[in-house]
């Protein structure tokens, strides 16, 4: 039996690239409607974890169940149940905003009136009305990120993965983006997000702090800071990074 309140479950999730272990024995359970943050310095294994959960990289060991689907057994089926936004803008810069949305809606199997209806819904949800006929390549960072989110949401995925979604986005747009994320979570979407910004980590329900492929701490921002021994999250982060560097020198 799969607990219906749990949408993501990782069991001994491990991935090695040659002799380097990027993610080591990760065990995590994420509830429906949770905004879950993955934090850690560069190279700590955040992106590899997300890519395994999306079926983009096969785990070396262990597995994960995402929205009721085993990522190792059915990496194709998983793609119908998740939305994914990478840190790099992955849409077509030579297509307009409307054409990009139309394409992804089509790829997610929406047709005819249901496609038009869903696009209209997403456009008003993200406020893209006035940008529809602009080429995606000419959009600013904040608008590109909104468009990326729009395309990832076309098929109403129960789980949304955001890999550093706010990198290169101005503060006002970042704030607006997080309001949108909260709204999505309120509707029952599970959001898993990696970030470098400490204020954003505070907006997550729980966070997992990773270092060198290991899970170091888990809980709310305050709990995580305390577990690592810092007075706040930023402090904890610096302590962690110094510890990593000492280990590397040793």
């Amino acid at each position: 039996m799969i607990d219906s309140a749990v949408t993501v479950e990782m069991r001994h999730l491990t991935r090695a690239f040659g002799s380097i272990v990027a993610v080591r024995d990760l065990n995590l359970t994420i509830a429906k409607g949770e905004v879950f943050g993955l934090l850690g310095p560069n190279g700590s294994g955040k992106t590899t974890t997300i890519r395994m959960l999306c079926g983009l990289i096969a785990p070396s060991e262990g597995t994960a169940i995402v929205a009721g689907v085993d990522v190792v057994k059915s990496p194709d089926l998983i793609k119908e149940r998740i939305g994914y936004m990478s840190q790099r803008f992955g849409l077509y810069e030579d297509l307009t905003v409307a054409e990009n949305m139309d394409f992804f809606a089509g790829i997610y199997g929406l047709e005819g009136p249901s496609r038009r209806g869903r696009i209209a819904e997403v456009v008003s949800f993200l406020g893209l009305n006035r940008r529809l006929y602009q080429l995606a390549g000419t959009l600013s960072g904040g608008w590109k990120q909104r468009l990326g989110l729009a395309c990832a949401l076309m098929h109403r995925p129960p789980v949304l993965f955001l890999d550093e979604p706010t990198a290169g986005v101005d503060p006002a747009a970042r704030k607006g983006f997080w309001i949108t994320i909260s709204a999505l979570a309120g509707q029952g979407t599970t959001v898993i997000v990696t970030t470098h910004y400490m204020d954003e980590a505070g907006r997550c329900g729980r966070i997992a702090l990773m270092s060198q492929g290991h899970l170091i701490a888990l809980g709310t921002a305050g709990e995580v800071a305390k577990q690592v021994g810092g007075k706040d999250l930023e402090d904890a982060f610096i302590i962690l990074q110094e510890r990593d560097e000492q280990e590397q020198e040793a």
Binding site: G55, L56, I57, A58, P75, S86, G90, Y92, Y108, G109
Partner: protein, 299 residues
Amino acid sequence: MRRFGPMFRKEFIQMRRDRLTLGIMTGIPVIQLLLFGFAIQTDVRHIPTVVLDESRTPTSREMIAAFVAQVRNLAILSAAAHSRALPLETRIRPRYNPGLRSANYIVPGLVGVILTITMVLVTAMAIVRERERGTLEQLIVTPITKTELMLGKISPYVGVGLVQMTTVLLLGRFVFDVPLTGNVLLLYGIAFVFIVASLALGLFVSTLVRTQQQAMQTSFFFVLPNILLSGFMFPRQAMPALFQWIGAFLPLTHFLKVLRGILLKGVGVTELWQEMAILLLFATVLIALSVRRFQKTLD
């Protein structure tokens, strides 16, 4: 295959917006045709001739002089020859291509060569470009199947190929006076299969390489044997057995027979069914291989 439609439409819009590629695709046939059509002359001319006169008599010398005069006149197509009575008449009769028109031989072949170059290159770049720009990552996290992705990618270029072929055939007909003897509809039917095979070859190349530069280099590596070994310029019968055998593995070799057969000899399905079958086999196998090799992962 319901996601084929959106993929096709997207590819078509992108192709239309990419002015440079579109220019290259339409410019190449015209430039190549004019270049090859005017420059390449495989006709045998200026043959040095020696006459061995063993008779060494005034009569024999007179005869040789008359012969030389006649050949010269023939060469400059003068009607009234220096009439010295000569009981001989000389005529040059080429056994191959009796009209001595290189264009008849080159232009039909050029249709195949141009299609090979552009179709292979364009598709080899197409998937690698998505990888380099980061759009492939977004695409493979959607439920699109590998077959839908591949077929959606190559389909718009089938139209481009048919336009290229029409351009070359029309220019060949009106600039170089190359005949269109046989059933043109049959030719387009077989050309369709050949274009798909070339696009599939490009797809296959794209699964072997990581960058656009590698894609371009690898494509040229495939294109050169096509020009040299297919029988486009040099007759295959004159090649060592090994190279004839390699040539048999190039789609262009078989399409050339179709092109020349239909355009120059006016032959039909009865004579060409083998070539048709082979081209169909090439297209199917290459698409299957590319789909197999393409991975919907980032590993």
